[in-house]
Symmetry: C2
Subunit: 274 residues, 2 copies
């Protein structure tokens, strides 16, 4: 089931020395010779970090109450709704019919309700997804972003949320100060993980794709970034899985604090921020 | 929440006279003037019918036993698995990393298992999805396809299944004889509902896209066909929903028998097959 892509584990980036904090992968033995010969740690430090937002930085759990209420108390339907929302973000992408993420969320919430015999009006669905704009950060996120900024990293959001959505989310979460800019797929009308999104983001940041790293809690996002020739870190938050048919990212951590340890170590190992 | 697309209900194609069998839509009043002026019923008969296969023609229920066994008996996770499979068919499409539908099904079954604390090997996941190649037709399908063929319709599959997959499915279900050819997305390496798929299929059949009709039990497939300028019929099978942000198809029927009534009436209303 392992992909034969040349991207698999081509970088050893600080996987050693992290103990149990960062997952050690069964495939680690396959780290390429090119990496073993790389003796300059600086060479491995990403120039720019892109952050997925929903679930990666912000905690989706406060939506559970409102969404499960809209679904007649059936909290077990939440993953189905969120997956259907992601599915339809790609449905509109491959049909070139962009709609904003919240509107897709509302439409798919109505669909999941309907499939389960629950009649849900658009207005009630809209009300149920409203908390998305005021999600709190996961507990470790603010400190971790501050450490990364202090270590000299230039950071951007790269989110499926709309322009208005990400502005509100950043304002309400207090995370805005850490980012050079808020990039969102709305600017190009194509959802992640389309290859174009990652390459466009790198150009917007003025760096080569391969000098960027995406940090995300979703297997599809990590896969898309790696396939686009970005580097990637996966936050293995509750219920999140890597995609078995994609390359493995160089960092797999339980949360952003642990991923930050790896990124800051890379920085200081190279003599500090640049 | 209604789309303002020009496609919405632009054709009135036999919606009247079908009683409760074919859903009458709230938006029916918006049928365009162009249609009302159309007095030649022949003009409205599609030249070619494309059929989605999984769930539309074939009954997925026999998979429930094997898949829910793989998921530790949690049958309620089946829709999440199938939606995740569809999501990832589009993930690989937007990243141009085609993999066949069964392999995506296996990988996503492992992911859904993992998210729910169930360890599932690739071999066991493969075994669980094996029944996909020998699904039985829904009970009304054989007779309906025979009626459509007798009415002179030229028919093709248009499926996300692989070439080998659709051949086996058609052989095992006994439906193969009704189709001029089995078209599958594997030929182009892009999954439905990408616009390109429907336009490619029309070219393969040698007809204009707007003279083709897709018949499918999935909202995303109907949406993709309509957005690509095909016509569409939706089979509202159990648990299936139209996408609220897409145009409405001209036929909405509970099963293929009822959709066939509409299509055959169009045929005989025009003086028989051509």
């Amino acid at each position: 089931m392992q992909s034969d892509s040349p991207h698999v584990n081509r970088r050893s980036f600080l996987k050693t020395g992290l103990g149990g904090a960062v997952g050690t992968l069964a495939a680690l033995g396959s780290v390429s010779t090119a990496d073993s010969q790389n003796t300059d740690p600086m060479k491995d430090r990403p120039e720019v970090l892109f952050f997925d937002v929903n679930e990666t930085l912000l905690d989706l759990r406060p939506m559970k109450a409102s969404v499960s209420e809209a679904l007649g108390g059936r909290e077990n339907l939440l993953p189905l709704w969120f997956t259907t929302m992601l599915q339809y973000s790609l449905v509109v992408t491959v049909a070139d019919r962009y709609a904003n993420f919240i509107d897709i969320g509302i439409a798919t919430l109505q669909m999941v309700a309907g499939s389960n015999g629950i009649r849900l009006s658009e207005a009630d669905a809209r009300k149920a997804v409203e908390p998305m704009s005021s999600l709190p950060p996961h507990p470790e996120v603010s400190d971790a972003l501050r450490s990364l900024k202090n270590a000299g990293y230039r950071m951007f959001t790269l989110t499926n949320s709309s322009k208005a959505g990400i502005s509100t989310q950043m304002k309400n979460s207090g995370l805005g100060e850490f980012f050079a800019d808020f990039l969102t797929v709305e600017e190009i009308g194509i959802y992640k993980p389309a290859t174009h999104v990652y390459r466009w983001a790198a150009r917007r940041a003025g760096v080569k794709t391969q000098n960027c790293m995406l940090i995300a809690a979703h297997g599809w996002d990590v896969a898309g970034a790696l396939w686009a020739d970005m580097r990637a870190a996966f936050l293995a938050r509750a219920g999140q899985q890597l995609y078995p048919l994609a390359p493995e990212p160089e960092i797999i951590a339980p949360d952003l604090a642990k991923a930050t340890e790896a990124l800051v170590a890379a920085s200081s190992g190279s003599g500090g921020p640049r």
